[in-house]
């Protein structure tokens, strides 16, 4: 339960003065400088590729192989080319629809399931909880063929619905919500019950509003991971109009040769929504990824 404390550390004033004897000052500043150096190197390693993507996407076709850090001439040609070559706006809308739907549905089913565990005891509840937790042990690649055949039998190949259906529920959402419901004061539930509130109303009017924090961080996490998903759409997509943007990016790469400019433009377009979310909500985004471990 230390997550909040740990993710917020930079904001928390650490009791620093106590551990700094005065005489150690020169050594300390040297250490700090070295620390900065380490961090700057790491930061450049992490950010440079993204920067290079954006810069390359702005270079006109005749200057794509330039290696200056700043483009000598900037143009949006690559973007207009990418927009003409594939229906990339349509793909972005598709991705948005898929990611938003998955987020809402997964939170909904997660809340319902978590509530069942928090509120009632029923036969096999522990076993079912474990079975839900164990689904993470099943790698996607193991179930992909049966799932693919299932989708094909339903006639949903090349249909956005097929991208959404398997994500109707996820262990992560259920477990995280169940965990925060556990810390929900029981007395409130009991009191509401005495008032005769039905379980349905208790869930939506009392429990859910109090879980705003968890729900928000889960929403961020689910949205970003669904937006970035590649493997499942790769199996199902057939036509560009029914694809998500991650598949669109791939269309600029071929064994004969890659159109670097448009590829970088499409990649930038695909990343832009996520980067905007990140710039606006960076603290919450970092926090929600750190809370849930690695996906």
């Amino acid at each position: 339960m230390t997550t909040d404390a740990m993710t917020l550390t930079p904001a928390r004033p650490l009791p620093k003065p106590a551990r700094r004897p005065r005489k150690a000052k020169p050594r300390r500043s040297w250490n700090t400088a070295a620390g900065h150096l380490v961090m700057v190197v790491l930061a450049i390693f992490c950010l440079f590729p993204v920067y290079w993507m954006i810069v390359s996407s702005l270079r006109p076709a005749n200057a794509i192989f330039e290696t200056t850090l700043w483009p000598s001439t900037a143009s949006l040609d690559n973007y207009s080319y990418a927009l003409k070559a594939i229906p990339i706006l349509r793909m972005l809308v598709n991705t948005l629809v898929v990611a938003a739907t998955v987020t809402v549905v997964q939170l909904f089913t997660g809340l319902l399931a978590a509530y069942a565990f928090a509120r009632w005891r029923f036969p096999c509840d522990k076993l079912i909880y474990t079975l839900i937790a164990l689904t993470w042990l099943v790698p996607f690649q193991v179930v992909m063929i049966p799932n693919y055949l299932f989708v094909a039998n339903l006639g949903l190949l090349d249909n956005l619905l097929a991208l959404i259906l398997p994500h109707f529920a996820a262990a992560l959402a259920i477990l995280m919500l169940a965990q925060s419901m556990r810390s929900f004061p029981r007395e409130v539930l009991e009191a509401a019950r005495m008032d005769g509130a039905r379980s349905w109303r208790i869930l939506w009017e009392i429990v859910t509003p109090n879980l705003r924090g968890t729900i928000a961080s889960l929403a961020i996490l689910i949205f970003i991971s669904t937006w970035n998903e590649y493997f499942w759409p790769l199996l199902l997509s057939r036509s560009p109009q029914n694809s998500v943007v991650q598949i669109g990016i791939q269309m600029f790469m071929s064994s004969e040769g890659t159109q670097w400019g448009p590829l970088m433009a499409a990649s930038t377009l695909a990343s832009l929504p996520i980067l905007v979310i990140y710039v606006v909500l960076q603290r919450q985004v970092i926090q929600s990824f750190m809370k849930s471990g690695i996906r």
């Binding site: 993710t7 089913t109 063929i145 299932f150 995280m176 991650q246 695909a270 471990g293 996906r295």
Partner: protein, 322 residues
């Protein structure tokens, strides 16, 4: 150290997953077969059964057949033949060895470097630390395909930035993705690139959580810097480090999938393929359902056994008390 929430996600499987809420006074006794909880559970349970547990069983079934997924093609029962064929296939063993190499290569990037960086930079001022935090987290939110596209561009043998830099310093350009001995290590870089900042943040947070009084006490006793790291920080960070190592071992090879697919397609000469990638290859390149399913079963059982052992070990060796 690492929070309950962090562990609850994917990792908290066998050891202690079952701390369900227990009311102090169970007012509503579980009157056996109440229907309400089942209704609440139904949508989630149905989804997980339909898309995970049922297909898992189906993969077992399909692994005993020879079939190419084409409509009208016959589905022949072949018993254990698929398994025998896979075990006799050099490509399978190559993929298995590569899976190990991927994990081996990822550990420094996802665990060791982050640990060193987190310990080394713990006393940076809060404001600049906040800034670095924001920057090094960026790769985590970039889509794997986008990351793969960027790295493909950076590593391009003719015009990629990395090779331009190498030739600038007077070295010969490296064929990062075309040379079979180099390619696998090349794929590890973008995979690790996505994780390194995130791991550093996790470890920094755990490191910042160490009670400064402990460090101070050790300093008073005349402990050197290195002794403090070795005897206090590392033991207190142990469960976080173990957690990250566990995730890397269990999921590392899986994370590299997109990069293999986009950057090399498993080549050259199968040098970058791994166990997850050959499942894909069997299934959707050669359309052999039986082989792919048999490999899936082998993978699932191996992966499950490994997870079980690792979780046991982790439970035993992590530091529970702060």
């Amino acid at each position: 150290m690492i929070s309950d929430a962090t562990l609850s996600g994917p990792v908290q499987a066998p050891p202690q997953p079952l701390r369900l809420p227990r009311p102090a006074t169970p007012t509503r006794r579980a009157s056996a077969w109440r229907i309400a909880p089942w209704l609440y559970l139904a949508p989630a349970a149905a989804t997980l059964i339909l898309w995970i547990y049922w297909p898992l069983l189906d993969a077992f079934r399909l692994s005993f057949f020879r079939w190419n997924m084409l409509p009208g093609a016959p589905m022949t029962f072949v018993g254990w033949e698929n398994y025998q064929n896979i075990f006799a296939l050099p490509k399978f063993w190559q993929a298995l060895r590569n899976t190990g190499l991927y994990i081996l290569g990822l550990v420094p990037l996802a665990v060791i470097v982050p640990t060193v960086v987190a310990i080394y930079t713990h006393d940076l001022p809060a404001r600049s630390r906040n800034f670095y935090r924001t920057v090094i987290f960026v790769p985590m939110i970039i889509a794997p395909v986008v990351a793969a596209a960027i790295w493909r561009w950076l590593l391009d043998p003719a015009h990629g930035m990395v090779n331009e830099a190498i030739t600038l310093f007077g070295f010969r350009p490296v064929r990062f993705l075309q040379d079979p001995t180099v390619a696998i290590w090349t794929i590890i870089v973008p995979t690790g690139w996505k994780l390194i900042g995130f791991s550093t943040l996790i470890l920094s947070a755990a490191n910042a959580n160490i009670n400064p009084a402990l460090i101070e006490a050790a300093r008073m006793d005349g402990a050197s810097k290195w002794e403090i790291v070795r005897d206090i920080r590392l033991p207190l960070l142990r469960s976080t480090i173990l957690f990250l190592a566990l995730m890397t071992i269990l999921l590392g090879a899986q994370w590299s999938f997109s990069y293999i697919h986009v950057l090399t397609g498993g080549g050259p000469l199968g040098s970058t393929t791994n166990i997850f990638y050959i499942l894909w290859d069997f299934g959707f390149s050669t359309l052999s359902v039986g082989w792919s399913s048999a490999a899936a079963v082998i993978l699932f059982l191996g992966f499950g056994a490994l997870a079980f052992v690792l979780l046991r070990l982790m439970d035993r060796y992590s530091f529970h008390d702060n």
